[in-house]
């Protein structure tokens, strides 16, 4: 069974059943990673272009490996969003790539809505690998897969998302996905980094981080971009770390079996103490492994033999 859509742009427009299909497909893809020869012919003859216009190593690598294990030809195009703006526009770039007949373009871009814009122009499939502060759907899917593996189900679980919610596409995609799957979400962070009207997304806002952590099944820490300090969102990294960093001490109020997640890369010592990142409840590396499986599933479902292209 494939997805009956051309693109994967955002979690918010997926049906819960589609999320289920993606997670089930990803779970079955995981077995490929353990093979001696990590290759299946599912996407032989298909071309995937990774158009990464914002720096990214892990997401690009993850998509590249996913495509290659499925036997697709994977081409990486990188650049910066700003240089594309100055000369060739994003639409021009997209039309030029389209002229080379790819089956799928995976785009990472600093501007919210860039993947939507590309999807309107291109006939081939478009996968959003992160657009500005809007969404990062494959990250949310790999997070859901990781939680489901660890807990056996998603419905009824509770999650605390902590940190810079305002600027986080990971938070937006996860909130959308978790709500759709029947999970409850509490966000916490400096009030300057909690965006207006966030409750309308169906989440609770905790005033103190400790309140958010109590009794939840999952703690998801977000990466703090260091430039937030210069714009006066926070007075110092030191204070941020003290109030909103996940330390062993703060963990004392949490459940014994709580899962600790982070989309990476971790600012060790800022949003998370090293002993927490490397501790027994951290599933950060499982998230990375599941990233490849989820991206294989997405590529397969969108452009595979039974994919719902068009």
């Amino acid at each position: 069974m494939g997805l009956t859509r051309k693109d994967l742009l955002e979690i918010r427009s997926l049906e819960p059943g589609e999320i289920q299909t993606i997670l089930d497909t990803a779970a079955s893809m995981k077995e490929i990673a353990s093979r001696e020869i990590k290759k299946v012919p599912a996407l032989r003859g298909k071309t995937v272009v990774n158009l990464f216009l914002e720096p990214s190593t892990r997401t690009r690598t993850s998509f590249e490996i996913a495509g290659k294990w499925l036997s697709a030809d994977v081409v990486n195009v990188s650049g910066s969003s700003s240089s594309v703006v100055k000369g060739e526009t994003l639409v021009d770039t997209a039309r030029n790539i389209e002229a080379m007949s790819p089956d799928c373009v995976v785009i990472r871009h600093a501007a919210s809505g860039a993947a939507h814009m590309l999807a309107r122009v291109l006939r081939c499939s478009v996968v959003n690998a992160g657009d500005g502060m809007h969404e990062h759907p494959t990250q949310a899917l790999l997070d859901l897969l990781t939680i489901r593996e660890k807990r056996g189900h998603l419905e009824g679980l509770s999650v605390a998302i902590v940190g810079d919610i305002a600027h986080s596409r990971v938070a937006r995609s996860n909130i959308a996905g978790m709500r759709k799957m029947g999970m409850s979400v509490t966000v916490a962070g400096p009030p300057t980094l909690i965006p207006p009207g966030v409750e309308e997304l169906g989440v609770k806002v905790a005033r103190r981080m400790e309140d958010a952590l109590r009794d939840v099944d999952v703690i998801m820490m977000l990466r703090l971009q260091q430039e937030r300090m210069t714009a006066n969102y926070i007075p110092s990294l030191r204070e941020y770390s003290r109030l909103y960093g996940l330390s062993l001490e703060k963990l004392r109020g949490a459940r014994d079996d709580v899962l600790i997640m982070h989309p990476g890369p971790v600012n060790r010592g800022i949003e998370m103490a090293p002993e927490v990142a490397d501790g027994p409840y951290s599933v950060i590396l499982e998230q990375v492994a599941n990233g490849v499986a989820v991206r294989m599933a997405i590529l397969y479902l969108l452009i595979g033999a039974q994919g719902g292209e068009g």
């Binding site: 969003s81 703006v85 526009t89 994003l90 639409v91 871009h109 600093a110 501007a111 919210s112 809505g113 860039a114 939507h116 814009m117 657009d131 500005g132 502060m133 809007h134 969404e135 305002a166 596409r169 937006r172 965006p195 207006p196 009207g197 966030v198 309308e200 997304l201």
Partner: protein, 434 residues
Amino acid sequence: MDLLIRNGRVIDPANGLDAPGDLLIQGGRVARIGARLEAPPGTETVDAGGRVVAPGFIDIHVHLREPGQEYKETIATGTRAAAAGGFAAVACMANTEPVNDTRAVTDYILAEARSRGIVRVYPIGAVTKGLAGRELAELGELAEAGCIAYSDDGRPVMNSALLRRALEYAQAFGRPIVSHAEDAALSEGGVMHEGFVSTDLGLRGIPAAAEEIMVARDVALAELTGTPVHIAHVSTAAAARLLRDAKARGVPVTGEVTPHHLILTDEALRAYDPNAKMAPPLRSKRDVEACREALADGTLDAIATDHAPHALTDKEVELDHAANGVVGLETAVALCLTHLVREGVLDLSTLIARLTVGPARVLGLPGGSLAPGTPGDVTVLDLAREHVIEPARFRSKARNTPFGGQAVVGAPWLTVVGGRIVMRDGRVAGDSGW
């Protein structure tokens, strides 16, 4: 030019008139309104067929882009767009290249308007040199050259002491200052209204307070100096409330609102459409309702389009990088008739007032009335005409509108400038075979 418009429903809010009648223009000025007027020899006659005959509409906020950005618009194309949209006069903002901060630029605009323009063009001069917000422009020379007001529109004058001096100095020339009210520090980096929708879309927001703060400051400076301040494109409930209170206290302030701020909310950004990006941004439903109320009760004196033409290359980019602004001259009248009059927000006479006598008084312009002796500018409306907004057919060079494809009811049918017909039933002076 002599013209007799027969068989109309003459609505002239400045003189409290709404009655069937004929309108005679002689020597380019209104001569008479009456029943069954005779056409003197050599007078062109138009049968209005019962349509609404109003004073020529005035848009006190447009960007004609010339000199300097002729790829977006020119005085020729911009005034043709105005005529097509039922506007007999426009006031054009100073953010050209070079900026209209010297006599030479004003002279150029007026010369182009005379030779290639087809409606009246009133230049607005800069408040500060180069719109840089640091030094006063030569306001006296700009007034002598023909500027009818001053504005750094597009940029707020952030320095309150400088704006205070500008307001004091402008008194010598009897010209108001038009304020683009936006606290630049609060709006920095923002691309849309700040609220739930910006949170949902992951776009940087501009809080309503960015406008409110500057309107409060401008009201205080108008009160301090006694010089009239006109607030451009009011978009928030708070700004409307501040203006209402200030007017009640007798402070010399006025305000305008655009059709898009009266019709659309921040929900229009949902598809990341760059044609829904402008400054100030589309606001919340509550703000739209407050602006409508303020327009109806006279707190807001005028509807102005903030016609901001852009080329496709300025708009067909990521929303973060897209230019601010929408075109308005060719859609304003139909949109207002459809969304304001038909929906019962304003009666027809009030809408006409906000497009005629209201804007004329704000900037001290001639016109806006059909009193004998006033300029023979007329707009005739066909209230029944149903059509679809088609950007491809605009007379403007630009197509940047979020209203393309929308069905509307009502349209301008005739535009007359000084007794000369410049648009008739969709055809504009200078069209082939005109």
